[in-house]
Symmetry: C2
Subunit: 716 residues, 2 copies
């Protein structure tokens, strides 16, 4: 790609960004779009009345929201949102620091050195800049065997040191936040509860009795209560259907005109005799409620051999969690209970062996998906090469020869198509992760986050750099000795693609999908005519599993290309600044926390940064080899080893804090509670906290019809 | 190697075995060798008087000891020795079962198929057998592309299935034994105690106070007491010197002749004035005891930031062990306490970071040793090739041309030299493992056992099969795709070497070093004239770290060569039978258990068997490829995957039982103790169980001199 093509791409994207920015600044002030751009305040019933008044300012694009997003301190953000949101914002702060340092070194030191080399046979004619290849700014342009490469060598060492220092600082900062957050938290059900799977049911007693007997026998002083987990998929469907029907009925009842209520009961409401719709739906609701009642009583027997067991103290729960319970390690398997609202109820595999097998199946499916996904990526690859496109579609030749068209295609289209394909991946990953048998949304999202990250690295980074068939890529990994050389050869060549990728997928995509919220906006416009006022309105939660891998992938690009093609760094810095402001705004206005993992996503961030560093080192080893500076190549080998040792130290120093809270903290918090008079009320709440919502009594009063049928909870 | 050379080697070794067997049968009945062959009964003061009577039968070789070693049941063996010994014997039982099955299939099915092939261009002249190469019996002889190879394919699958079933059975058997042994055990100090390392000492309070405060604060109901760990290397040296001097003094005092007691005090006792030796040594002992006293009081302050903390219940100790204590995971690091007699007192690194670094250093040293050790092995390799030897030492040509000499050299000498070199390795491994900072002999031996195993596999198996330089061997592992082919090419060619190895190193070495105890025998003969009756006599303990890897290596040979060269199996079967009887005999008469890990060595055995299976599969994949049966090669690929999945399942199903006891068992045992009146006496014992023996009061009464100086324990 030449400089002018890059400039075109940047130009188009800048224009788009500006457009989205302006539109957002206007639309966010329109009351009818409040549920798209400020769902949190809608849910809190704030502002609504005030903003209904019309004033002229509403039509002007203003940037006041930027200031409002910038202003709150980290503690304020924590109090309004969750620690997870704060940790997510720390990724941007960390990236800004890394890229800030990298940008200074890269642009001021490395870029001039690269540009002054003449490996790619060019003259120093600065006036010809727009038609220069972007490769002139990359390390490829430095002469073979040049002494200047030692500057790159030093930069790699210094940069690694700085990143490791920042990583250590962030890990330590976030773990202290995590512990402080635990100390300041009120007693919460999940702190006192463990999930017990694989309960060995002896014949003659129910699963619930077995759990009760086991824990009263072995933990008489700390055991409080338990709730069995039941298979309620069908029941959940039925109750949600009943709920919908009930809301429909309520709406219909509010319509006074009885004529409207009469409809034909035949095909599509066109033929047959006329009936009162209210009666019709009322009968249907009665049937449904009968079904729910029947299902509830039948489900009560369908225990899946798993239970939430609550204890009187946090230490009691920790003891049950950390010490193997039964003599058979595959029975009485305990794990941390999620928050009650975080429980993913329709999970299946309580038995140890079923979970294990489903995990294996998911691994196989995930690997297959990751490999098959390469096919569209390869097509995208083809689109970036104009000659190939012309060869495929000769009739397009005249169009493609136009400069604008060719620049749009090489600079913009490829990443857009890739983006489209990628948008289907996160839901698939969520599906795969939920098949693994996790009990909570947070665990599912965390697992999907890891899957997405490796998927992105494999499919975007490696597939784009190591072009060729899937088989070829695999062969490379079977010959580890050649990896540095191949990567060093291929990665710098793709620098221009990734710069365009940052601009398209980073800037525009961020503004369009995050800030402007294109799809929720379209969805809200489409459904407005059909929806009543009473429709449920749900505040969205941030999809960490798709956002975190995206940010981390840009971080990987920045770290890897730091010494190969520093030109990418300013674009990444802009991305980080945009991301920082936009996500702060979204956390304050749009996303409500659905659960709180207390920053458990950070280890993923840390590991991915370490991976990026080691990848950078491997490429450096290969690059110095290619450039015939074997001494630098050998002297770089300690760098990945030192980095991995640093990572190992961090794993030992910080990771345990993210796995469980230490006894010291647990006991201190338990002591606090002992003196708290509200604790007995909390215990009462605790014993019902983990009851399946589908088994709760259903209450749909139908006062106008004169018969109200509260469904009492069956079984329990 | 040709058949006759093998027969020569077997003949020599059989003769040697018979010789050792006869000598042992006679010598074991001589009272003067009782401390070599029955140290356990000597220590128990049994038999001594009876066996002093002379009778003629004493000079006849009898095999009654074989019957006596065979007779005791497993439970009797357990009551006399330890669970570790029983587990060690299970290795032989397991190997016998595996090789029994493999032998039947190998000799009856595979061997004829191999022999009937004509890949190695021979005729079917059976009379020429002695001069045939042993390769005629290996898979190398099967024709390329032959349909018979599918028999080998089926054998690999069936054999893997049988081995996995046996592995599962053994793992389950031993874990149930382990739990039963725990249930039947009396309260023991190590069940109630944890070792706490990296105690964070705040200025102004001693380490001991910090530990006391922490545990009384957080575990007020279960904390019992603690003993600080101190750096006592110097003190231990001093006390042992003092002990030796005291015993010398006592011996001298018993010698009545005062003339003998006078010696010159000058150079070598030749010049200078005559002094009373008794006085001289008495003064020396006084000095030493003063030194000990001084050292004891100074050591009392030298706390190393680690302590043994004892609790009132097993569950209390387990809670402290399993839950991270402090907010910083690198402080208050807890680990299981070893048995008091198992503690390796002079350990150094209480601090987390020091231990970590020393572990890294040990890893590097271990790797270097493993690689450097190849040099003597390569020389041994050279000796097996006569031509090379003749080329090096032309003057030996006439000697080497003699059939007997050449057969001895090719069949016997190489493994003997290898054996000699190998005998230096276990002590080095123990040294390396103790540098890692383990607290107990058992942990050190377990770690050394793993080190020895990999060392043996790398240096004996791989170095012998993959001849060539060290660099060449490394290069192979950098190209994983080629490994199956290279192994399949190289491993069958070394079948004859390994058969000779089994016969030499397995049969003869086992009988000579284990049963006949050559080195203790020689040592006892040498030192007899110099030692008095009162000399300490220590019952030896079995060096698991050198014995287990040896047995496991033979198992690896058997599994790997099962379908390549089944001729090795009968020799291995004989080895296992010999080993079973001999080690039973030794456990009953020679080795006293020094510690009890309750069978923690079994996971090593399991893992090494799985490794052997996977290695066999990899070779099979390569072999079917070499033999141009690509379908069989591809169909073998699922086999290692299935085996590894099986291993993963076993890890989850059984390994946790070997790491810690489940809460169920702990609580049951604790309940038993609650009703036991002896428990308060046990608590008293517990609080002093982990006191450093070097800090115990020293008591050397010198009644004849009239002054006795009991040294009271300093500090505590």
């Amino acid at each position: 790609m030449i400089v002018s093509a890059l400039l075109t791409s940047v130009g188009i994207n800048l224009a788009l960004c500006l457009l989205f920015f302006t539109l957002y600044s206007i639309l966010r002030k329109q009351p009818s779009y409040l549920n798209v751009y400020s769902p949190r305040s809608v849910a809190a019933k704030e502002e609504l009345e005030e903003s209904n008044k019309f004033n002229f300012e509403r039509l002007l694009p203003t940037a006041g929201w930027v200031r409002r997003a910038w202003q709150p301190s980290e503690d304020e953000l924590l109090s309004v949102t969750s620690l997870d949101a704060v940790v997510f914002m720390r990724i941007f702060i960390f990236s800004l620091r890394v890229f800030g340092f990298a940008g200074i070194v890269g642009i001021l030191v490395l870029l001039p050195i690269n540009y002054l080399g003449n490996q790619l046979n060019r003259d120093f004619d600065i006036s010809d800049l727009p038609s220069k290849s972007l490769d002139s700014f990359s390390i490829s342009n430095v002469n073979v065997g040049s002494k200047w490469l030692w500057v790159h060598f030093c930069a790699a060492y210094i940069f690694t040191g700085v990143v490791c220092y920042l990583l250590y600082y962030e890990y330590s900062f976030i773990s202290s936040k995590r512990i402080a957050h635990f100390y300041s938290s009120k007693p919460q059900p999940h702190q006192f509860t463990v999930l017990v799977r694989a309960v060995p049911v002896s014949s003659g007693s129910s699963c619930s009795e077995t759990v009760e007997n086991f824990f009263t026998e072995y933990y008489p002083s700390t055991y409080l209560s338990h709730s069995m987990v039941r298979r309620t998929n069908k029941l959940q469907r039925l109750t949600s259907d009943a709920g919908k029907l009930y809301r429909k009925l309520v709406r219909l009842r509010s319509e006074t005109n009885t004529q409207q209520r009469l409809r034909c009961d035949g095909c599509w409401g066109l033929f047959g005799r006329k009936v009162d719709v209210l009666d019709h739906y009322g009968k249907k609701l009665d049937d449904l409620e009968d079904n729910v009642r029947m299902e509830q009583s039948s489900v009560a027997g369908k225990e899946v051999g798993a239970a939430f067991v609550s204890f009187k103290s946090r230490l009691g729960a920790a003891v049950a969690l950390h010490i193997q319970q039964g003599a058979n390690p595959t029975e009485w398997v305990t794990e941390r209970a999620p928050e009650p609202q975080d429980v993913h109820w329709p999970f299946f595999s309580a038995s140890f062996i079923k979970r294990w097998i489903s995990k294996l199946v998911v691994v196989v499916a995930y690997t297959a998906l990751t490999i098959l996904f390469l096919i569209p990526v390869v097509i995208v690859q083809g689109l970036t090469h104009l000659e190939q496109l012309e060869a495929w579609f000769p009739f397009l030749k005249s169009v493609l020869d136009l400069t604008v068209v060719s620049e749009v295609i090489t600079g913009y289209l490829p990443s857009l198509i890739l983006q489209l394909f990628l948008s289907f991946v996160p839901p698939i990953m969520i599906m795969l992760s939920s098949m693994e048998g996790y009990i909570s949304f947070s665990q599912i999202q965390k697992s999907a986050c890891g899957k997405m990250l490796w998927f992105t690295i494999w499919n975007i980074f490696l597939a784009n750099t190591l072009s060729g068939t899937v088989l070829y890529r695999f062969n490379i990994f079977l010959e580890p000795k050649k990896i540095p050389g191949i990567l060093a050869d291929a990665v710098p060549a793709q620098a221009s693609f990734f710069i365009a990728y940052v601009v398209t997928s980073g800037w525009t995509s961020l503004l369009a999908s995050e800030l402007f919220r294109v799809s929720p906006l379209i969805w809200s416009i489409i459904k407005r005519p059909f929806s009543g006022k009473d429709d449920e309105f749900e505040v969205p939660s941030i999809p960490y599993h798709s956002e975190i891998p995206r940010v981390l992938f840009f971080e990987l690009l920045g770290i890897t290309y730091f010494f190969l093609a520093p030109l990418i760094l300013p674009f990444l810095l802009v991305y980080c600044c945009l991301g920082y402001i936009i996500f702060r705004n979204q956390f304050l206005n749009v996303y409500a926390p659905k659960y709180e993992t207390d920053g458990k996503f950070w280890p993923t961030v840390h590991n991915s940064t370490i991976f990026a560093l080691v990848l950078m080192h491997i490429i450096a080893i290969g690059m110095f080899g290619l450039k015939k500076v074997p001494l630098a190549s050998s002297l770089t080998i300690p760098l990945p080893i030192l980095t991995l040792l640093f990572n190992e130290y961090c794993r030992k120093r910080f990771l345990p804090i993210f796995k469980a809270y230490p006894a010291e903290c647990l006991i201190k918090k338990d002591r606090e509670d002992e003196n708290d008079p509200r604790i007995s009320a909390f215990y009462e709440k605790l014993s019902t906290a983990y009851r399946d919502p589908a088994l709760m009594p259903m209450h749909h009063p139908r006062s106008t019809d004169g018969h109200s049928t509260p469904l009492l909870q069956a079984g329990v």
